[in-house]
Symmetry: C2
Subunit: 125 residues, 2 copies
């Protein structure tokens, strides 16, 4: 099996962007592992994919997010685990200034697919 590289994880990141644009949160099944953890700024850690779906549904609705965009800065995998450093941007329906974030995602291979297992981010400025 050839090593997993940054290019290989792009489909999952594009899927996340589509989910935000279409508000199709059930498709997060294909982004996060079953027992994933997210660490959002200003809140406790949220564990488990169902809770993570609720978080994104609520956050996108309450903030009025119109689009999300992710960019991989670094990616490295060893065995069935990898980590990514990236940048992200959220746009808003109100036309308010975009929110720029940076993030670290720990990736895991689960049932043959590479998914986000740990997801933490914070603001760029």
């Amino acid at each position: 099996m050839s090593p997993v590289i940054a290019q290989d994880i792009q489909p999952t990141n594009r899927l996340f962007e589509q989910i935000i644009a279409k508000r199709d949160f059930d498709a997060l099944d294909r982004v996060y592992t079953k027992d994933a953890r997210i660490l959002p700024p200003g809140a406790p850690t949220i564990s488990g994919r169902e809770n993570i779906k609720s978080f994104w549904r609520t956050a996108v609705d309450s903030l009025g997010v119109s689009a999300g965009k992710l960019e991989t800065v670094e990616f490295e995998a060893t065995g069935d685990t990898g980590f990514e450093i990236g940048r992200g941007r959220l746009d808003f329906v109100s036309g308010a200034a975009s929110l720029e974030v940076k993030f670290v995602v720990v990736w895991k291979r689960e049932d043959g697919a590479w998914k986000w297992d740990v997801d933490i981010w914070n603001t760029l400025s």
Copy 2:
């Protein structure tokens, strides 16, 4: 070589706490890899150990940090890379309320020692 577990990384985390308490920032050589990256909230990514030393020196001075405390919540290693999820607390000389954070650290074995290679955190509330 037996697998690296959460207990094995505790001396490095205790060293970080001592560095903050003693303001001995040069000892961060034993905490961060040479090419480490930190992703502090509200700021761009900082790369390289010397720049990271400057960051902590300035942050501890300007915020008046009196103590830092780290707690490992999860740790898992594969080969020479691992990741940790944790909680942290900063106390202040002013007696102001402590700052509670959560973090993800990507650990790397460098020259035989396990060190922080990527360090990102955000606030708990």
